[in-house]
Subunit: 344 residues, 2 copies
């Protein structure tokens, strides 16, 4: 910023102490008497003195700044993740550099480059693609602290995530348990190569003796309500007649619900609806939607803790660790009717 | 980050050119032949060389980093604002440092201090309180580039915002025009001292000869769906019987809608509902909700342009400029029935 910067020298001149004493006092060193420390701090505040972290970082080689890359914070869950991470980092004295990749790997790579140019101490990332993440793994290989919010099948990254496979399996098993037999999948993850939820769904149905019907599996090109609405319309248009729909996000599930309401299908009588994430809009929808919880705060805190731990390591980093959180199922009105859908 | 940094020197050694030539080539100087530039760029990329922006910033006194402070990005509109601002800044070569204030002025002040310590070139802020913003005005007074996303009555700040007063007035006039006479206000802004929307509502009702009834004006302690639900319950519990409700955010309006549905009130027959913001969840709700558009992209782009303009000024900053965008009204099903509510 433009203003002539107040320097340590100015605080020293004003107080009559040496710059060394001022510097120690502002870092709260016990080598300076408490009364002196207080006096110097007061003068520094009056002069509007800010320690120049940029100059400090050239000496300490720490910028006390973290880069956070998310795909798209319009997904309310990633919004909350961003907010919780920024808060947790701030409590530990770190600032958060923020970028979204708009679900493209190219922009993700650009963001990482921009962050590295600004000497971030570490990177937290929710990668666009869960598999094609060599650009993230290579950071780790080079010894950079990085934590991914998506699990890595090659276990080459530190990760903190919810067990999407198990979560999808649990909610699919629930749909089976309430008597549904034609369970559709509206999948906004698979088009990005992220097949964990799909696999959980397939596993649950197969084990129940209900081999998944390709006619009931729809790729959804986005994570929003409108995407869910259009996908449901498309499913019906091509003759799919499910008695339950599992949507891979709550926003997509809300779109399913809207389409069913517009077409006079009873929920859950004619069709049970389940989502994933546990967002407020689905919890407080006209028919509250059953879902799997994405534990935002736990994920944010755990990821920040791990990243700070990696930053603090002297010497080579420890082997990557995977933290897979157990997903909690929440049953609400949208799947509350048992054995109701078999005759549709 | 920990790894031994690749330096300009390394690129020079590898290519056989001087550090000066390498530096010019990487800044794409026409003084270096194109073929040489390309060779040097390729070697730099192979070596994984990143220009040290931190060192550069000590020389240029520009960090190419902006601080963004928002109140709470769980409000989907502020989420979109954050994303659009980060995108627009990135297109201009700036990185975004991000913090939320959780709607407290103390955390806002902390965030500004943290950003100044990191030498941001300017600050974009959506302040918690619209009036009590001396800490923001004083930045401007000291010559720091700062743009607020909320208008400033004292005109001491550069601001880019939607005209909330006019927007609230327009939607209240609309409720009058469709024949509503007992129009309630569910106000989540006034408790924070932000009375623009309240004033627009009072003005519209007063001019229509419908002096606002204090029994129909409810302070809502938060901006979420649940806040709107509880506030509507409280309004009914104390005997308020409106035929229309204007909620100061769409999320609050969604809570109103849920309560009305749970209590078998027809929308808009028994009660018309209007919000503010134009979020997807309200647009695609079971009864789509009439609203005033918060023009996210226009606000983000305009604010970023102005901030970059201020950063580029040599010498004293120009006088603060206010940009107040005209709010657009969108009528949907929640207020579509005309003259239906008078007899409730």
């Amino acid at each position: 910023m433009r203003k002539a910067r107040v320097r340590l020298r100015d605080v020293a001149d004003k107080t009559g102490f040496s710059t060394n004493t001022v510097s120690l006092a502002l870092r709260d060193s016990p080598r300076i008497p408490p009364a002196t420390r207080e006096l110097i701090r007061k003068v520094a505040a009056d002069l509007d003195y800010f320690p120049n972290r940029i100059a400090q970082s050239l000496v300490s080689r720490q910028s006390m700044t973290i880069g956070l890359v998310l795909t798209d914070i319009r997904n309310p869950i990633l919004t909350q993740v961003a907010q919780e991470i920024a808060r947790a980092l701030s409590e530990s004295g770190y600032a958060t550099l923020f970028a979204t990749s708009d679900n493209t790997t190219d922009r993700e790579i650009d963001a990482i480059r921009a962050f590295r140019g600004r000497q971030v101490d570490g990177i937290l990332i929710y990668p666009t693609e869960h598999r094609d993440i060599e650009h993230v793994r290579s950071l780790r290989d080079q010894g950079y602290p990085v934590v991914s919010l998506v699990s890595d099948r090659e276990k080459a990254l530190d990760t903190v995530s919810v067990d999407e496979h198990l979560g999808a399996r649990k909610i699919s098993e629930h749909l089976v348990a309430i008597g549904r037999r034609r369970i559709a999948l509206l999948d906004s993850a698979a088009p990005l190569g992220n097949t964990e939820k799909q696999e959980g769904y397939v596993e649950a149905l197969t084990e129940a003796g209900l081999p998944p019907d390709p006619a009931l599996c729809v790729a959804v090109p986005g994570h929003g309500i409108e995407d869910g609405y259009r996908a449901t319309a498309a499913l019906w248009a091509r003759g799919g007649r499910p008695d339950a729909i599992f949507a891979t996000t709550d926003s997509v599930a809300l779109g399913v619900q809207r389409w069913c309401e517009d077409n006079d299908l009873a929920i859950p009588g004619d069709i049970a609806i389940a989502g994933f994430d546990d967002i407020e809009y689905a919890r407080l929808s006209s028919v509250p939607i059953s879902t799997v919880v994405y534990p935002v705060e736990q994920i944010a805190r755990t990821a920040v803790e791990r990243l700070i731990e990696l930053i603090g390591v002297n010497g080579p980093l420890p082997p990557p660790a995977e933290r897979l959180l157990d997903p909690k199922l929440i049953v609400r009105q949208s799947t509350a009717g048992t054995n109701a859908g078999a005759g549709h």
